[in-house]
């Protein structure tokens, strides 16, 4: 009888211990509650058969799956919102400067000889150019932020891979000798969940209870205690847009669709940010060019022939910077001249010479082949409003077979836009050399506001469509985030509902195990009393 009491006492103690662990774990993220299972012994009394970790693996895996979409939408939506705030803000948007410039031109049209208006036109042109500059530099800064965030998220993912590998080893060792401690499983589940928020992964549980982590296309990331490192490689064709890759013993393989927070960043960069940057550059090129062309047609206040208001869109520096060598032997420097801003697309191109010595142009992004015209005397090629020629007295014939170049026609246009005229008298408003009060050239400049200048749009329309594209992308991302956030919450709620600690339940258990303990103690004391009674009776 005493023995039976002792088994009960022990069991109640163990159960109380489990309860106290659960109570302690109530606030710990990822803690799975445990339950002490009682069993009656064949030889009388009770014992704790096992301490069960309560976890619904299906619910847990569902939460991992939802974490990936949630991670994607989180980074994607937050960057979209940042870009949207930039392009639509009253103090950052192009519209106020653009409308201000034309407003001042209009004011000057009534009094073209008035120097105050001319000064204002110059000041507004400076303001417009600096708006282009600051929009471009803010977008560049955001691109740099995306890259540094990519690098820190990749570092985090590697930490998670290492943590999974480490717990895998501890779990395998514990499994070999019997029971796997619950906290190790909790820790690994938690690491996998954090990894899932960063990128899309598949998990397979092995016989030895280790978890194998792969990317969905099959490349392993963690196998038992081994990890393959995630790295960021220079992108192709644009080296500045890094790409995620997994490095194994024998090869480094790019991951095209990483998903999760990393994928959300990359897609924002490619689908929204780069697109907006290229559109802005094209707008800067087309606008500078149209204004300059008109200015050069007119006459200034002193009757002299007009000169450009903005910097030359085909300066030797800009022409050279529009190409980057990306493959094969770099045998020529290329100059990219913008001939016709109205024909410019907002695309980049990969220009290459294949092994058969044939020139090829492919659109980027997209990849489709672009037809071009070849100048029969120089061998230069032209397409989409630009001409590619070789610099330093060479021709495209000197280009090495198998070499390729990235062509970015708008590169640097918005960022380097500047007013090159500093004398207000030199503004060419007049259409006639000896008539400074003539405003016919100025009226043509004013008409420029409604002229179709690039991509079938006027300058205002071009800018508005940048805003509207970003706004649509941002709205899509925000809606998607709201949906995936809800799904993720539901999924984690399901896990919580199964594995989370309920304090009331634990309080009840505690009372019950206390009573169990007291009752068993009473059994022992009663047995003792009986024994004493018996002894006294003898």
């Amino acid at each position: 009888m005493i023995f039976t009491g002792i088994t009960g006492l022990n069991a109640a103690q163990t159960a109380l211990n489990v309860t106290s662990k659960n109570i302690a774990g109530v606030g710990v993220n990822g803690y799975s509650r445990q339950v002490a299972n009682f069993k009656t012994s064949d030889i009388g009394g009770v014992y704790i058969n096992n301490i069960e970790r309560v976890s619904d693996q299906y619910a847990v895996q569902q939460a991992w799956f939802n974490a990936t979409q949630y991670g994607y939408d989180t980074t994607n939506a937050s960057h979209n919102l940042q870009l949207e705030t930039l392009v639509s803000g009253k103090n950052t948007s192009l519209s106020p400067s653009l409308n201000g410039f034309f407003d001042t031109l209009n004011a000057a049209s009534a009094d073209p000889m008035e120097i105050a208006y001319r000064q204002e036109v110059l000041a507004d042109a400076e303001d417009l150019a600096s708006r282009f500059n600051s929009l471009s530099s803010s977008m560049n800064k955001q691109a740099a932020d995306v890259e540094s965030q990519l690098s820190s998220l990749t570092g985090e993912a590697n930490d998670m891979l290492a943590s999974i590998a480490k717990t895998n080893e501890a779990i395998a060792a514990a499994a070999a000798i019997g029971n796997v401690p619950s906290h190790l499983l909790d820790e690994r589940d938690q690491s996998i969940q954090q990894l899932s928020e960063l990128m899309d992964v598949s998990i397979i549980f092995e016989q030895d209870q280790t978890a194998t982590v792969t990317i969905p296309t099959g490349e392993p990331l963690v196998s038992r205690g081994e990890t393959n490192e995630l790295v960021l490689l220079p992108g192709y064709p644009d080296a500045s847009q890094t790409q995620l890759a997994v490095k194994s013993h024998d090869a480094t393989k790019r991951i095209d669709q990483p998903g999760g927070g990393i994928g959300g960043l990359m897609d924002f960069r490619e689908d929204t940010l780069s697109q907006s940057q290229r559109e802005l550059d094209r707008l800067a090129l087309a606008f500078s060019n149209e204004v300059n062309a008109l200015m050069e047609k007119g006459f200034d206040l002193n009757g002299a022939a007009g000169s450009a208001l903005f910097g030359d869109i085909n300066s030797s520096e800009l022409m050279r910077n529009r190409s980057t060598h990306i493959g094969g032997t770099n045998s020529v420097n290329l100059d990219i001249k913008v001939d016709d801003t109205s024909k410019l697309t907002a695309d980049n191109y990969v220009f290459s010479k294949n092994d058969k010595n044939e020139l090829e142009v492919h659109r980027h992004p997209g990849g489709e082949k672009v037809d071009f015209e070849t100048d029969t005397t120089t061998g230069d090629i032209s397409f989409d409003g630009i001409t590619i020629s070789a610099a330093d007295g060479k021709t495209l014939g000197d280009m090495a077979a198998g070499s390729s170049y990235l062509i970015e026609p708008g590169k640097g246009a918005a960022g380097t836009m500047e007013v090159v005229l500093d004398d207000p008298e030199k503004l060419a408003f007049s259409g006639k050399a000896d008539e400074p009060g003539n405003n016919s050239n100025l009226l043509d400049l004013i008409k420029l506001q409604d002229k179709t200048i690039a991509g079938g749009q006027s300058v205002n329309q071009g800018w508005n469509s940048i805003i509207s594209d970003v706004a649509s992308s941002s709205a899509r991302a925000t809606n998607s985030l709201a949906a995936s956030e809800m799904l993720y919450q539901e999924a984690t709620s399901r896990v919580q509902s199964e594995s989370g600690v309920n304090l009331d339940e634990e309080a009840g258990n505690m009372l019950m195990f206390q009573q169990l303990y007291s009752a068993n103690a009473k059994v022992i004391s009663t047995a003792d009393e009986l024994f004493q009674t018996l002894l006294q009776a003898v």
Binding site: L81, A110, S430, E435, G437, N438, N502, G508
Partner: protein
């Protein structure tokens, strides 16, 4: 369903945050008066708003142009009216010279007065406006439109008189063309007339005619009928110039009428534009106020729920 303590906490704090977010958004909408706080709230309406904004900016610009054109034309108008008065005075003086009883001294006195009124007319023709521009100089208002300039012969040399002084003649040094200013999508205002329109029509310009008349008045002795012929010619010249000045005034009147109409149209368009903007983005307070009340009630409820659930534990009773 089993609910864990953390889940309960998360759910309650999550809905509290959501309720707070809703209240904060509605408050922002109410303080700005706008339903759309950022373009992604309604991308389609935002595009319309951007277009309306751009158009509004143009309407404001045109309205500025209308004011400037009206000022310019107003300047010309008052100069033209002064010209009319001076022309009338000159005409009276010319006619008074026809009185047969006048002595040479009397004629010289009249000549002096005519020289003064003509000089005033010349100054009026050379009126300056904003930007130091001569308003009757057309599009070449950088220099005095009415000037005496040396006469140049075919070889490009100045013509000299008997005393060896350069011979001068009256000349219009401005441009025949006048400026246009855009005042609406389709309308341009024409900025008045030039000194050429007013004084330099016909074979001989007004100032030369007056010089010739003054010379006759100062001449002694006069041939038979010479004065009468000169008066006839001078009156013809003055009447032609008066006609041109009145025509200029009529044109300006018509132009100012057009500008007033354009201004009215412009004001209507601005009002329509703002009404459209408002219909797209303005907050409907009748809808927003009850919404805020509900959201505040929800927030208070979730806060109370959170507060009570955090004290609600079995541990408090054992």
């Amino acid at each position: 369903m089993r609910v864990s303590t953390m889940q309960m906490h998360n759910t309650l704090s999550g809905s509290m945050q959501k309720a707070q977010g809703n209240v904060s958004k509605t408050l922002l909408q109410m303080s700005s008066g706008k339903e759309i706080l950022k373009p992604s709230d309604d991308p389609f309406a935002s595009v319309q708003l951007l277009k309306l904004d751009d158009h509004l900016s143009k309407l404001e610009t045109w309205s500025g142009n209308i004011d400037k054109a009206t000022t310019f034309l107003g300047n010309q108008e008052s100069a033209l009216m002064d010209m009319n008065n001076n022309l009338d005075r000159t005409r009276d003086l010319v006619l008074s010279a026809g009185n047969g009883a006048l002595s040479l001294e009397d004629r010289k006195a009249i000549a002096k007065e005519i020289e003064q009124t003509v000089s005033t007319l010349k100054s009026l023709a050379n009126t300056k406006g904003a930007g130091d521009e001569y308003i009757f100089g057309g599009t070449a208002g950088q220099q005095e439109p009415v000037q005496k300039v040396p006469v140049i012969d075919e070889k490009g040399n100045p013509v000299l008189d008997a005393d060896g002084n350069p011979v001068e003649e009256w000349s219009f040094e401005g441009s025949e063309s006048v400026r246009e200013v855009q005042v609406s999508d389709s309308q341009h205002a024409t900025l008045g007339s030039t000194a050429s329109d007013l004084f330099f029509q016909g074979d001989k310009d007004f100032f030369t005619q007056m010089d010739e008349f003054v010379a006759i008045l100062n001449k002694d002795p006069l041939a038979e009928g010479e004065l009468e012929g000169a008066i006839d010619a001078a009156i013809k010249g003055i009447d032609a110039t008066s006609g041109a000045v009145n025509e200029g005034l009529t044109d300006i009147g018509a132009e100012i009428n057009m500008l007033e109409e354009a201004k009215d149209t412009n004001t209507d368009l601005v009002a329509t534009n703002k009404a459209m903007q408002s219909s797209l983005e303005a907050l409907d307070y009748a809808e927003a106020i009850p919404r805020l009340t509900i959201e505040q009630t929800v927030l208070t409820a979730t806060q109370k729920g959170y507060a009570s659930s955090s004290t609600l534990t079995l541990f408090n009773y054992i």
